[in-house]
Subunit: 208 residues, 2 copies
Amino acid sequence: MVAANRSPLSRTVIADAALVLIEEHGFDYLTMRRLGENLGIDAMSLYYYFDNKDDLLDAMLDRLYDSVVISELDAGSGNEFASWLRAIRRMFEHPAAHELYTKRVASSPAGPRGVLWSGTRLLQRGLTPAEAAKAYRLICSFVTGFASSSMYVSAIAEAAKAAPEADDLYVSEFLCHLQQADEEETFEAGLNMLATVLISDLATVTAS
Amino acid sequence: MVAANRSPLSRTVIADAALVLIEEHGFDYLTMRRLGENLGIDAMSLYYYFDNKDDLLDAMLDRLYDSVVISELDAGSGNEFASWLRAIRRMFEHPAAHELYTKRVASSPAGPRGVLWSGTRLLQRGLTPAEAAKAYRLICSFVTGFASSSMYVSAIAEAAKAAPEADDLYVSEFLCHLQQADEEETFEAGLNMLATVLISDLATVTAS
DNA sequence: ACCTGAACACCGTTCAAGT
DNA sequence: ACCTGAACACCGTTCAAGT
């Protein structure tokens, strides 16, 4: 019989608990010991479910990816690709996402899943494999880069205001716009640019 | 008199030594204790030069930025901005760059330096402050995102080959192209796209 | 099958003390 | 001014042992 005061444990349950822990206290708060305590078990019991901490991180990233695919796809609308990219951007708003992604995407099952999904969509749109690869590379760079830079542009712009160059009126206005700009609007502008150049007319970019 | 068997210490000398340590052994190898040993001093002496480890990391990122600006600028060629972006991409080839950038760019002096430099260039090209802010956001997203994804695309594509979807001929060709594509050529395609859309004709993207 | 507890080899950091 | 060494409060992980 399972103890009444806690749900039965599994890799998924533990990974989700770890994500919540980070939501509440930040990435560095997550330690095996604290996670164990939070789940009501000895920290070392976690090694029954995971080989090591990296294995846990991989599972966490995979859970984040799950939440994207399940919730966001309005499949068949003809624009699933764009809405998937928007969902990825939103995924990166989770305080764990960026660190998990850069550290573990190469080893988590989430990595292949993302590439295969995107690649398939691009090929369906009629791109050749070579074009699709180049398009994927540019799109993925923009989306992940945009998401990461979201986290610190505002702080950097704030710090830059103290520099002597910021006495210049245009420069200081530039910095203000950097802080106040609507993230979603800017992201859409980027998607727009990518769609225009890559999908309907990739050849002009491809031809070096 | 300074001991003959080592150069006099300073923040700069120590930060450079830390960068070398990472080049040789990877990011996680860098600990205060190992860095101290490597410099021939007690690890705790490092706290005479740095408030804490984050302070050291900030200094390291600033040193990486230094190497970019000094070496790469063919100023006055009319295309300093593009060559600066290329130099940033090359900076990210240093095994410490990505981790330092994402962790510390918000607090290192390198952050403001980069924003001010880029902003000034964009304004000189005749963009309004609002246009320059949007352009900076998109360019910065692409350049940093491209640099980070360079580190793992190939590994992800390799892993994806094992998935059942990769039995499809087009998909497997797509994955091969992803691994074999010339990084520099793809990066140039991205720069090209940004320059075309943002700098000579930003308005069409800006107008939502 | 699932969990515990002691133990090991590390961390970053503080502080009083040395030259 | 520059450096040391002991000490503190942590880490991740292993392993033999318990139920």
